[in-house]
């Protein structure tokens, strides 16, 4: 099977996956014990208002008609509107205004995890069974087992009290920022300002980056530990393989050996970890954004669920499913390029 057919098959197989996920979401929202109309109005809602909302949401139509309408709307990206969180605003507008902060957070979380986890893991793998290896390995294991909301809570406290604890102030370190707040990303929407108004724009960018680093560190923590462990195993395995021995025997210098022969091959098993990270980020963003009060998609989902804005919750769920399926396809595609041995019939 050629790469194109493989990818095509992969795309076709992802359609039932999306339909399944969306159907489950529909089932929970429409067939669950909580009626969307009652959820929107809360316990005080009177019968007439409930009936009006039912009318507008189409809740009194036959169930199968509701189902097809729900699915049809989502597939055509007619995403509906928010009813409680930001009543009357189209869902798409909400998402556009909330998403950049989550993307910014996710970007840094992946970057930090990669930047710390992989080098540490490779270092441990290149120096196996030394003190630093044990230290790094043990650290990775414990780091991975820590609940990230707990880590977030502690980090918030420590960073807000650096003055008393360490005698230096994190809030006024380099640029003045608060610990618990949303980063202001206006500068990224208008990147030309980095040239036209460098003083202000670069300060804003530095602020946004500094604010996002602690939550990104927390969000990336679990994957950081995993990347470290897998990086270590991958290096150990590659070092002991025959072709490395051959290269050593024919006199390849240690530096070339590490960078050319070991490093590149050890990266292969890390690909699924990096994409698996995306799933952690989606779930974890709810917790981390709540603790750091970052106005992102995760917090939006949590508020929508908490306040009974079920139509918005359904829309967000659909988008998350699309995102995960998309990432899976990207991962498989990356695999076919990095490692041609990967079987297409999997």
């Amino acid at each position: 099977m050629s790469r194109a057919t493989y990818m095509l098959k992969r795309l076709v197989l992802s359609i039932p996956v999306i339909i399944f996920g969306t159907t489950v979401t529909f089932a929970i929202i429409r067939l669950g014990p909580l009626s969307p109309a009652a959820a929107i109005l809360g316990p005080q809602g009177d019968a007439r208002a409930i009936r009006q909302i039912e009318q507008r949401l189409g809740l009194n139509e036959p169930l199968w008609e509701q189902y097809f309408e729900f699915m049809g709307d989502l597939f055509l990206f007619d995403l509906g509107q928010s009813w409680v969180v930001n009543s009357g605003t189209p869902a798409i507008d909400l998402i556009i205004s909330y998403a950049p902060r989550t993307i910014w957070l996710g970007f840094w979380a992946v970057l930090i995890a990669l930047g710390i986890g992989i080098p540490l893991g490779f270092y441990a793998g290149l120096n196996p069974n030394t003190f630093s290896d044990y230290f790094a390995s043990f650290g990775g294991i414990v780091w991975r087992a820590m609940p990230n909301f707990w880590l977030a809570v502690i980090l918030v406290t420590v960073l807000s009290q650096t003055e008393q604890l360490f005698g230096f102030s994190w809030t006024s370190f380099i640029v003045e920022t608060n610990v618990v707040t949303s980063p202001n990303l206006a500068v990224l929407k208008n990147p030309t300002r980095l040239i036209t108004d460098p003083g202000q724009a670069w300060t804003n960018l530095a602020k946004a980056t500094k604010q996002i680093l602690p939550p990104a560190l927390v969000l990336g923590s679990a994957s950081m530990g995993t990347e470290m462990r897998i990086g270590r195993t991958a290096v150990l395995e590659t070092i002991n393989s025959k072709y490395v021995e051959t290269a050593k025997a024919k006199g390849v210098s240690p530096r070339v050996l590490v960078w050319k022969h070991i490093f590149r091959n050890a990266l292969i098993p890390l690909v699924p970890v990096i994409t698996a990270e995306a799933f952690i980020l989606i779930g974890g963003s709810v917790l981390v954004e709540t603790v750091f009060s970052i106005n992102g998609i995760g917090l939006l989902f949590f508020r929508a669920a908490e306040q009974g804005d079920l139509p918005l919750v359904g829309t967000l769920m659909y988008l998350f499913i699309l995102l995960i399926v998309g990432l899976n396809i990207v991962q498989d595609f990356a695999y076919t390029i990095i490692d041609p041995r990967v079987g297409y019939d999997a």
């Binding site: 979401t25 609940p147 990230n148 809570v153 604890l165 974890g284 998350f320």
Partner: protein, 486 residues
Amino acid sequence: MMETELTEDIDQPLRDRLKAHPGPALLWGAGLCLLLLLEGPTYLDGLLGAIGFGLGLLPGAPGAEAFASASAFFSELPHLLSRELIPNRGYYDGSAWQGTFLGLEPKYAWLIRFLLVYVYVAVLLGWLWYGYVTFRRHYRAADWTPTDDVIDRLRSHYWGLFGLAVVVFFITMAAFAPVVGPTTAEENIEGPYSHDMQYYDADTETVETITIGEANLGSASRGSGDSNVGIWSYDDFGRFHPVGTLVSGKDLFTFLAFGARVSLFIGLGSMAIAGFIATTLALVTAYYKGVTDLIVVLTSDSVQAMPALLLVILATVVFKNHWIAELYNGAMLFILLFALIRWPGLWRAVRGPALQVGEQEWVDAAKSYGQRPTVIMRKHMAPYILGYLLVYASLTLGGVIISVSALSFLGLGITAPTPEWGRAINIGQSYIASQSWHISLIPGILITLVVTGFNALSDGIRDAIDPQSEGAEGGATGAAAGGGGG
């Protein structure tokens, strides 16, 4: 299971071998009876209580009353590990402690009871191990079975043993929650205003009676000033708090012990259901392959493509006022949700081994002489994949514990007054930098420890059943960590 299979093949059944040489078995049996009798009432109380609870869920609750009253009867009987035998609550009347075990300080009385619980569990487990050794030495027909090697490898796997120790510590804490805590959940957490306690008032030099709720107001940990009862300290009413008190003045250790119960109940319950689904599907797909396999692959892909934590949040909100969320303050709902969400991960993990074993000659042989498919799957395939299932169930269990605490941190799921570790972290959030740091930090450290323990145990079992697997850990570990990331 290996032993029983092999012994069945030997012409002399186990019963005859026992009859021929009963000495060691009788000795071991007597020891076991003694150990069980010491704590007999607790086991009967727990068993009957659980049956009564189960019956209470059925429409009309047939016989639930009878079981509840029988359970209450047994809970009154004296036994070794009880608060009545080693009381740690009392008051200091100026010269000596009244009402505590042997007149000791409450601190030491509690410590003795706490340690006794762990000594008892250690002895019980040691005795069970001795039983296995006795069986191996005197009654097993085969000199050697592959299980021996697995066990030997696990015994020399110190990381796995560390995990096992942590898991046993955690399970004991959960199982003996009413005994290990310095006070009980009923008195201290659920109904503090309907229980009284006595304390000695130094000013008036009299013994006063006060409701526990009022006393709790005086033992609150609120960070600033005098209102803090930290770890390993007494409050103003002579009550000892091993790891301090909560903001409400309730005892944190008791809270943690009962919180362990909820976490363990959800973890084990969901893994049992998910494991059952995963094993059944793995066996069926490995046996029939083809379309069955494709359907399960698609279903599991679909379930895995849904953001797990968000799905649970949505379901918790939707089912908030439903009767299913009332069972054990929401724990039952969580068991079902996590079982439905986590089975694909387990299934993926055992699918490979199941396909492997499906190719074996003995399966072909069984097929060719006409054994029924269900019997082949159960007898000739299942034993091989159960070890792998254990590895991944242990990993996933850690993830479930983190997810449950994350949800109660957000204020969803397990509702008060049932304790849950995540809620303690939430309550103590604003006091971390103050002297009341214990409220948030200790539950968090405990979660980290327990999850590390389950991960280590899983590593140990994996290396024991499959010593060559070292390199293959990558994908699966990553996936499990992904699940636990919530």
